[in-house]
């Protein structure tokens, strides 16, 4: 099994927020891909495949038709030229799709390597038998020891092991998987590095996570999304309108005394129907999914990606998303009669035996703010260390007849009172102030020859991640409301919410509260996105319109959500929303461009068709194209080349920056609407100039 994942872009989205340029830019486009995908593009000429895109199917028929006509009159170069360019138009469209799909193929190959035929050690009672991985059934128990590849998706029911999941996540550091709790899920194809676990299989062979992942990146499982279907309907109806306009033109032309050749009419039709967007539509969809995969997010349905663009409420877990995972010591507040230095010294001493992140942060603060060198446990001879436990909720040290303790308010007060000491009058007031500000107070107490007493309070604070406020401001500009979910009490939650700049918060949140919140938002017509990892998140993940499960989470959570984040980074929800929006914008922009293009094509083709019988119509030839045949051919060539020219844009997506709907519309209308109007006038003129240089074409 391979532990390298060369195709996936490294995880580079540190949640520091504001990389303003090209934040959701896509993967790079390599022109060589066009050539490599050419055979695939030819294979897609199968009419049964083509019929899925009504616009391009019409072009295919047009290509066949003009080829037949050219064969009937083989001496006429014009017919051959039009036929050739219509074939190219069709092939270019297929090429766009093939290139988009090709980018997933390499990834799928890497995944397949992880799925090599594994031999499972199935438990039958107390005996073990060796069976092929594909013969496993749901409920089977299998044993995996160091060096084994886990044969299928399941939950650890016994033991704890470190597992290398790089085949799936691309992250080389091993993760711990253990029975019970929220870290019990294992994925088939990952490798046990140490210890022994028993796994209960929860997925049928062929439907495992890795199987689904392969299907997704290959685009095999791709179904058209609702918006894509709606857009296809609009494009089909435009195609019908233009078909009518062209078919009915012949009787008009005959009456006018200028019967048109079928080749010219077919060329006109292909130029008018929205081929640009028709050719690129499916590539845009595949590329959108691909952009998610590059960010290590697996969307189980395209519908979810699209819904992400529509999200108007984001539920974000406080811990890990808004704040760094842990609270950190921010200041030492002594009671009356104690100096800050004394308190800092005692706090540091009492925390040396506390290996929790909070404890470490106290030592760090003492060093940074009071210059207290970090002492090591071995330095103090005869010291008796009291480690922090969840039961005592205190840590400390007994040394030289002094006993220092630090811990939760209740525990420390009890400890002091047990020893007949007194709790300073102002200690209570200090802890209340800190709680009120959203912090967590820890008391520091000392027992020496003067008896037991409280020295002061350590202020533990949640540290809000850098750049979060700016990101929430951006989301607000996009019209998205953020709600912070936390188990903290309302006071603490409010303080953090204000500091981080979220719009709302849900404090002391239970799974039921989360569920109720989601339903309430949805009842108001809003689409809700959330992340979750625990089994108790599963119902809410299923209820949310976009539910992103962390890969580290339980299999229940992964089943319930419609996306899985392989990096288990809750901040990624924001990027998922942006990718969803970018997908829709790209479709809209290219549709607008495609329709606006038609204006210039009329100005090229109509005078070419009728200027002989109605010389006045030559005034419409504002591009001054050199000859009627060259004008028509130029329009057809432009129509074909613009598809190739826009493939990179379709794959990368239109540049997206968070802003209000109005400014986004103004910008995109300017670029793709006006641009679409003007660009073909220039393009067709240039092509015509090139054609007019070719000798013998007049």
């Amino acid at each position: 099994m391979s532990t390298v994942t060369p195709t996936r872009a490294p995880h580079q989205d540190a949640p520091t927020g504001h990389q303003s340029e090209g934040r959701v830019g896509g993967g790079l486009f390599d022109p060589a891909q066009l050539i490599r995908s050419f055979p695939d593009a030819l294979r897609k000429l199968d009419p049964r495949v083509m019929v899925k895109s009504p616009v391009m199917f019409v072009v295919l028929i047009g290509s066949v038709f003009t080829t037949v006509l050219a064969c009937l009159d083989p001496g006429e170069w014009f017919g051959w030229a039009i036929a050739a360019w219509l074939w190219l138009t069709t092939i270019f469209a297929n090429l766009a799709e093939a290139v988009a799909e090709g980018r997933g193929k390499a990834q799928a190959d890497t995944l397949r390597k992880a799925k090599t035929d594994t031999v499972a050690r199935r438990l039958l009672g107390r005996n073990e038998e060796r069976v092929a991985g594909i013969e496993l059934r749901i409920g089977d128990l299998v044993v995996c020891e160091a060096g084994d590849v886990i044969p299928g998706d399941g939950d650890v029911v016994e033991g704890v092991a470190s597992v290398d999941e790089s085949a799936i996540t691309g992250e080389s550091a091993p993760v711990i998987r253990e029975s019970g709790g929220d870290r019990s899920a294992v994925t088939g194809g990952t490798k046990v590095l140490s210890d022994r676990i028993v796994v209960k299989i929860t997925t049928k062979p062929g439907e495992t996570f890795i199987d689904r992942m392969i299907a997704l990146v290959e685009g095999a499982a791709r179904q058209k999304t609702p918006n894509e279907i709606a857009l296809n309907i609009l494009l089909a109806s435009l195609t019908i309108v233009f078909l009518l306009a062209v078919v009915t033109l012949q009787p008009f032309a005959i009456y006018a005394g200028q019967r048109q050749s079928m080749i010219v009419l077919t060329a006109l039709l292909v130029c008018l129907i929205p081929t640009t967007i028709g050719a690129l539509l499916s590539a845009i969809g595949i590329a959108g999914m691909d952009r998610l995969v590059q960010r290590n997010v697996l969307a189980m349905s395209g519908r979810a990606v699209e819904a992400a663009g529509d999200v108007s409420t984001l539920l974000l877990d406080k811990t890990g998303t808004i704040t760094l995972g842990n609270r950190q010591a921010a200041e030492f507040v002594p009671v009356k009669g104690t100096t800050e230095a004394e308190l800092a010294d005692a706090a540091q001493l009492s925390s040396l035996a506390d290996e929790t992140p909070e404890g470490r942060s106290i030592v760090v603060l003492a060093k940074e703010k009071y210059g207290l060198r970090e002492r090591h446990q071995g330095e103090l001879a005869g010291a008796e260390w009291v480690a922090f436990t969840a039961q005592t909720r205190m840590s400390g040290v007994d040394v030289d007849g002094r006993k220092v303790r630090k811990g939760a308010t209740g525990s420390v007060v009890a400890w002091v009172e047990e020893r007949g000491g007194t709790v300073a009058q102002d200690a209570q007031a200090l802890t209340d102030t800190i709680s009120g500000a959203g912090g967590t107070p820890l008391l520091v107490a000392l027992e020496d020859e003067h008896g037991a007493r409280v020295l002061g309070v350590i202020h533990l604070k949640d540290v809000v991640k850098e750049g979060m406020r700016e990101r929430f401001d951006e989301l607000r500009r996009m019209g998205i409301k953020t709600i912070m979910i936390t188990g903290d009490n309302p006071l603490t939650a409010k303080a953090i919410a204000e500091e981080a700049g979220v719009d709302d918060f849900l404090a002391e949140a239970t799974p039921e509260d989360k569920m109720a919140l989601i339903k309430r938002e949805q009842a108001g017509g809003k689409l809700v996105a959330m992340t979750g990892d625990g089994t108790n998140d599963a119902p809410a993940l299923a209820q949310a319109d976009v539910g992103v499960a962390m890969n580290t989470g339980t299999s229940a959570a992964k089943e319930a959500g419609n996306m899985v984040d392989l990096d288990s980074n809750p901040t990624k929800l924001i990027e998922i929303v942006e990718i969803g929006k970018q997908l829709l914008i790209t479709r809209g922009a290219l549709t607008t461009f495609s329709i606006a293009n038609d204006v210039a094509k009329y100005f090229a083709i109509i005078p070419a068709m009728f200027a002989v019988v109605y010389p006045g119509l030559d005034k419409l030839n504002i591009m001054q194209l050199s000859s009627p045949q060259s004008a028509i051919l130029s329009a057809v060539i432009f129509n074909a080349l613009i598809i190739v020219a826009l493939v990179p844009l379709a794959l990368k997506g239109v540049r997206y920056r968070p802003s209000s709907a109005d400014s986004m519309l103004r910008r995109n209308l300017g670029i793709y609407g006006l641009g679409g109007l003007v660009a073909p006038f220039i393009g067709i003129k240039i092509i015509d100039m090139v054609i007019s240089l070719v000798p013998g074409l007049h």
């Binding site: 609702p226 918006n227 709606a230 857009l231 309907i233 609009l234 109806s237 019908i240 309108v241 233009f242 009518l244 306009a245 078919v247 033109l249 012949q250 009787p251 008009f252 032309a253 005959i254 009456y255 006018a256 008018l272 699209e306 529509d310 108007s312 607000r476 500009r477 996009m478 019209g479 998205i480 108001g524 017509g525 809003k526 970018q582 829709l584 914008i585 479709r587 809209g588 922009a589 549709t591 607008t592 329709i595 606006a596 038609d598 204006v599 009329y602 109509i606 009728f610 109605y614 010389p615 006045g616 119509l617 419409l620 997206y656 709907a661 109005d662 986004m664 519309l665 103004r666 995109n668």
Partner: protein, 554 residues
């Protein structure tokens, strides 16, 4: 005062008058369609036809009401014409031939009022007043009812109920059209239009010879002809006849009547969906197109070159001297941008571009401001299309007025915009390709083609005006234009009501700054662009071979 300045002042006067009427009329109509009370006279009507005005209808029921009422109307009108010879009060006119009777019945029920007959030489008082004038009211009220049903689709949520067709039909007639038409008729009489039940007078002509003059309830029919965007004239000469439209003032009044309800319905719309600004955006879109077309028309008619034109001060052929170029141009644009089709000048005689402007106006789907009711619903469908394309560009599933434009909505909107172009192009192509129909043309070349294109454009879009020059009283034209009128009127209504039902069932999506602001100038501009480009692309080849070829030739 120069004729151009006079034209500008007339447009200004219209804008002021329409502006003054906009608010009270729009709010009044919103009140009419939202009220729970029935007038006594209305209760009698419900009793007479056995309709329950209080049940809420889902879209299929509403549609059944529309279709049933219209089928009965067509049959009644057909029989009335076929039996005219046997009816009293018919001024001695004979019964109408089957194909022409079908055409006329279809025409008046479809709010088109295409006329392949001459009123004064074919229709007596009974048919004119008891049949045609009645349809002038109720066919307009049907259009308004369907528009209101669509507006309710936007305004309501979580229900499929669109209101009650019978109550909408009766209220539109009794509370909106009748009172305004009555005032309008009085004003027209004051201007000099006639209103009597006199017979045919034989009068001596100034140059010798004799001429027939008909009397009739002309002013009353004239008022509803314009107000209900009907357009079927009492006389063949329509609004260029001095009995129908005696002077410049009555001309302005008639244009005002044509435009007042379609424009004011945008206020009704804004009121009913709970955001006046949304109504203003639609109003702005309609207003920009109307003013733009009017300006272009005056420009091409005034600026036309050639010795005859220069002596006359512009393209005066086919225009009445009492209206001049300005009064005729403003009327021509108003009548073709709505589904009216009344004419006070001969569109065939306009310059090549001028004729093209009248055709393009109809081809836009008559939505600026459009027919009573049909203008609003046609414009809202275009708004849905524009929102769909532009909405994608702001990165959300497109939504309009809080309703998502999904697969079903876009399917219905796409069907709607397909119908009239399909009818126009297919029927025109058939007429040009078959051996006999072209014999009806009285011109050759591009102008002859324009006559046929205009006829089907006018029929399928329910306009009813004629380019003149085409002999449309043949079996072919009576039948095909009749079909175009019926299909062009009622097929779109099927899709509109289905769309309304689908919208009404949705829950609204709350607006955020991420939502496309459909109440802003940018959106109005986008909508104008979408309308012009979609229509332009559809009809450019046909227009190029007709009015454009003619206009560019000189």
């Amino acid at each position: 005062m120069s004729p151009v300045l006079a034209g500008v002042l007339q447009v200004l006067a219209l804008v002021v008058a329409l502006g003054l009427a906009y608010r009270p009329l729009g709010d009044y109509m919103a009140g009419v369609y939202s009220s729970n009370k029935h007038l006594r006279v209305e209760k009698w009507m419900y009793k007479a036809v056995g309709a329950d005005p209080n049940t809420q209808m889902r879209w299929p029921a509403y549609l059944r009401g529309v279709l049933a009422f219209s089928v009965v109307s067509v049959l009644f009108l057909y029989l009335l014409q076929r039996l005219q010879g046997a009816l009293p009060g018919s001024l001695g006119f004979a019964s109408i031939d089957p194909d022409q009777a079908f055409n006329t019945a279809a025409s008046f029920v479809a709010n088109t009022n295409w006329q392949s007959y001459s009123g004064e030489q074919a229709m007596g008082h009974v048919v004119q007043t008891g049949g045609l004038a009645v349809q002038n009211f109720v066919s307009a009220a049907v259009g308004m009812a369907v528009a209101v049903a669509l507006v309710r689709g936007f305004a309501r949520s979580g229900t499929g109920e669109l209101g009650n067709f019978w109550s909408d039909l009766v209220r539109g007639t009794v509370r909106i059209l009748l009172p305004i038409a009555a005032v309008g008729a009085l004003a027209l009489v004051a201007c000099g239009a006639i209103q009597n039940f006199a017979g045919i007078h034989e009068v001596g002509q100034f140059m010798g010879g004799s001429q027939q003059w008909n009397g009739g309830a002309v002013a009353s029919q004239e008022a509803i002809k314009e107000l209900g965007t009907n357009g079927g004239g009492y006389f063949n000469a329509n609004s260029s006849h001095p009995f129908e439209n005696p002077n410049g003032l009555s001309n302005l009044l008639e244009i005002f009547l044509i435009l007042v309800i379609p424009f004011a319905m945008t206020r009704t719309f804004g009121r009913m969906v709970g955001s006046l600004k949304q109504g203003y955006a639609i109003l702005a879109t309609m207003g920009v197109i109307w003013l733009g077309f009017t300006t272009l028309m005056m420009w091409t008619e005034f600026a036309h070159h050639g010795p005859a034109f220069e002596i006359a001060g512009g393209a005066m052929e086919g225009k009445e001297t009492r209206f001049g170029i300005a009064g005729s141009s403003i009327f021509a644009v108003a009548t073709t941008l709505t589904s009216t089709g009344a004419v006070n000048s001969f569109h065939s005689s306009y310059t090549g571009f001028g004729g093209g402007i009248t055709m393009l106006g109809m081809q836009l789907g008559e939505i600026a401001p459009g027919g009573v009711g049909s203008g609003l619903y046609g414009m809202l469908v275009m708004a849905i299309i524009a929102v769909f394309i532009a909405g994608l560009m702001v990165g959300r599933t497109p939504e309009y007025l809080g309703k998502k434009i999904g697969t079903r909505e876009i399917k219905l909107a796409a069907c709607y915009i397909l119908i009239t172009p399909a009818l126009v192009l297919c029927f025109t192509a058939a007429a040009m390709a078959l051996p006999t129909p072209p014999h009806s043309m009285t011109n050759t070349g591009a102008h002859g083609f324009s006559e046929v294109l205009y006829a089907y454009t006018s029929g399928a879009n329910n306009n009813g005006s004629a380019f003149a020059g085409l002999n449309a009283d043949t079996q072919w034209f009576n039948t095909t234009i009749g079909l175009a009128m019926l299909l062009g009127r009622f097929l779109p209504m099927v899709f509109i009501l289905a769309l309304a039902g689908s919208l009404a069932e949705q829950k609204p999506v709350p607006a955020t700054v991420g939502t496309l602001g459909t109440h802003k100038p940018l959106f109005s501009g986008l909508l104008v662009g979408t309308i012009l480009i979609i229509t332009g692309l559809t009809f450019f080849p046909a227009l190029a071979l007709g009015p454009l070829a003619e206009g560019l030739a000189s």
